[in-house]
């Protein structure tokens, strides 16, 4: 009897906290506040550079600080270009702003994106893939070291959806593992990003997931996306963070969770621009309820 109780308790203790990606916008507040008020949100992810590090409005500050006080707030940066050689001044400016983030000492952990977005004349943008070489590994580790020097908590990387080549798909997991190794870093596994690559390169999603260092996964993202048609006439899955979460992504989530022994957080993401109408907000809330059901 004790063993059964103890097993159930341990299982409950190890259940990841579920939440949403929080943005400081009216759309986000309108969509997420019912979930917050009814205690459905166990954690929040804050995109630290979504407002260019500008001070938060009081309402958002209270919500984020409250979650931080329970150690259920994670930080996520979009504009730190981990794999860029150039743009050193841009990265240094970003780190300097991060140093002054009032929540810096309160994030459970902090992630940035795999990929590069800066170069000569480009100060930020969407991250792009790079092949796994000794040189790309070296520059990635140097840029992560600079980040780790500033950040008091564990640092991590989010996998990228966009791939230009089959190499980008088959080796991203190994590349991420090697980048994170010196820092005991964590992997933020975005399952919709995996789904996009799985579709675009015709590889079963669970097989693809198993090429990633799943023991490093401490955070999972799920989101919706969209379709476009390439010039070749082939459908392409896009990681646009809009529309509903595909059933295939929920199915993959259910299979992937047991493969991640160190999982702590699962977040549902949607860009505020895709939460404008009542239908969109209702769909998001339905997706969140599905997330709670699938993840237990």
């Amino acid at each position: 009897m004790f063993r059964m109780w103890y097993g159930l308790k341990m299982e409950a203790l190890h259940k990841p906290s579920k939440g949403v990606a929080w943005f400081s916008t009216a759309e986000t507040y309108a969509t997420h506040s019912p979930l917050l008020e009814n205690n459905y949100l166990e954690a929040l992810e804050w995109t630290i550079d979504s407002r260019s590090f500008q001070p938060l409005p009081e309402r958002d500050r209270k919500i984020l600080h409250d979650m931080a006080s329970r150690k259920k707030l994670t930080g996520h940066g979009v504009h730190y270009s981990v794999l860029s050689v150039g743009g050193k001044e841009i990265r240094e400016r970003w780190l300097s702003k991060l140093k002054n983030d009032p929540l810096l000492n309160h994030y459970a952990h902090l992630s940035v994106h795999f990929g590069f977005s800066t170069g000569r004349g480009f100060q930020d943008g969407a991250p792009l893939p790079l092949p796994f070489t000794a040189e790309t590994l070296d520059i990635g580790r140097k840029n992560l070291e600079a980040l780790a020097h500033i950040v008091p908590c564990r640092i991590g990387l989010e996998n990228l959806a966009l791939a230009f080549s089959p190499q980008d798909v088959s080796r991203q997991g190994e590349f991420l593992d090697k980048l994170l190794e010196p820092f005991d870093g964590f992997l933020l596994l975005d399952i919709h990003n995996l789904y996009s690559q799985s579709y675009n390169f015709d590889m079963p999603i669970i097989d693809l997931a198993k090429t990633y260092p799943l023991q490093r996964v401490r955070e999972i993202h799920i989101s919706g996306g969209s379709w476009s048609v390439g010039k070749t006439g082939k459908r392409i899955r896009r990681d646009t963070h809009d529309h509903c979460v595909p059933q295939d992504v929920f199915a993959a989530l259910e299979e992937i969770i047991p493969l991640c022994p160190n999982l702590e957080f699962i977040f549902l993401e949607q860009l505020p621009s895709a939460l404008q109408t009542d239908d969109q907000r209702n769909q998001f809330q339905e997706d969140y309820m599905s997330l709670l059901k699938v993840s237990g």
Binding site: G121, P131, P166, Q167
Partner: protein
Amino acid sequence: MIVNLLRRFSLFRKKTPLEKYQDKLLVLLKSGAAPEMIKEILLLDKALKDYHSYIESMNSDLLSVGSELVHKWGNRAS
């Protein structure tokens, strides 16, 4: 000694193949050039020979997605 100082201040810093690849790719993606032309220009650059096999394997449709993203989100440094 003067050359070393200038290199230190990036005035005559020799760019690595990776940096050249990144700079060139961003400019080409922003330009709106067709993906086949982007690949051709990159493959003609002998300084990027370490990346030629990767470039040859690039998917044209997804390069177009990259162009769209750089066009939409890529901000020029002021």
